[in-house]
């Protein structure tokens, strides 16, 4: 699983590098387009996803100590916070498209939609992974700590990739 984590972070770092290179070249245009984003919404997104990471970390601890009902509750809480993030993201996309900021409108929004969409796909896969985690925790014969930890590691990867996207797309000047 750690090979996957490092591989994914390498791929995303390459995307981020290309974005930052273009941003450095066209700072004024990127800054003007970026002003259409709501930083407060980005902060809320990030806190929701960090909360989901916190919940799945609790789930791992609970499963390790044999408290499977608590572990299952925390896994469902993880999906709940992830759902909040997903809804906020869709609301933001709809708002941007209505404001005329689309994939083809400006270079900044090409990067914005590409990075947030590719992250969103990882998030959707994450929901499937959390589903596997809940199923694992629900059946006595299926419980396996290694699988629980692997599912959590995937979710944390989705979280830290967003932490980077948030800083680079919403905050960088």
């Amino acid at each position: 699983m750690w090979f996957f984590v490092l591989f994914e972070s390498m791929i995303f770092t390459a995307y981020f590098g290309v974005y930052l290179y273009h941003r450095g070249q066209h700072e004024t245009a990127f800054l003007a387009a970026q002003s259409h984003l709501d930083l407060g919404l980005g902060v809320l997104d990030t806190i929701a996803l960090l909360a989901s990471s916190w919940a799945v970390a609790r789930s791992v601890q609970a499963a390790r100590s044999g408290r499977y009902d608590a572990a299952r509750r925390d896994a469902l809480l993880t999906a709940g916070f992830g759902g909040v993030f997903a809804v906020l993201k869709v609301v933001e996309w709809v708002h941007q498209v209505h404001a005329g900021n689309t994939f083809t409108s400006q270079e900044f929004f090409q990067f914005y939609f590409f990075l947030t969409a590719i992250h969103f796909i990882h998030l959707l896969i994450g929901f499937v992974v959390i589903g596997v985690l809940v199923r694992q925790l629900s059946g006595v014969e299926r419980r396996n700590q290694e699988t629980v930890e692997t599912c959590a590691t995937y979710w944390h990867t989705v979280d830290f990739l967003w932490v980077l996207i948030f800083a680079l797309v919403y905050v960088v000047r």
């Binding site: 972070s9 930052l20 290179y21 450095g24 916190w54 930890e149 590691t153 980077l164 800083a167 905050v171």
Partner: protein, 97 residues
């Protein structure tokens, strides 16, 4: 033991959220009478703070602090390489502008 670990996880989440909220202050500090302006200092701070958050997530939530030493070193090296790569690409792009 279990309760102590859960408290630690909560503290970690609070710290990560506080760093996230601090971005609002960084953002306002870069404004020029309400108008956004480019700032290399803000860009570098944003990248470094994000990487600090990534390291905290790896160490605490992903339990790297309890992992074999080799994984600790590898993840730290990875974060450092990401820092060099991201800051380097931004500065090269600026220089080529």
């Amino acid at each position: 033991m279990f309760s102590t670990l859960n408290k630690r996880l909560l503290v970690v989440w609070v710290v990560l959220s506080a760093i996230t909220v601090a971005y609002l202050w960084i953002d306002h500090s870069a404004d020029d009478n309400g108008a956004a302006r480019a700032s290399t200092a803000v860009t570098l701070s944003a990248i470094l703070l994000a990487l600090v958050k990534v390291r905290i997530i790896m160490r605490e939530f992903m339990e790297v602090r309890d992992a074999p030493r080799r994984l600790c070193w590898l993840t730290d090296l990875w974060v450092a390489l990401m820092a060099v790569g991201l800051i380097g690409m931004y500065l090269v792009g600026k220089a080529a502008a």
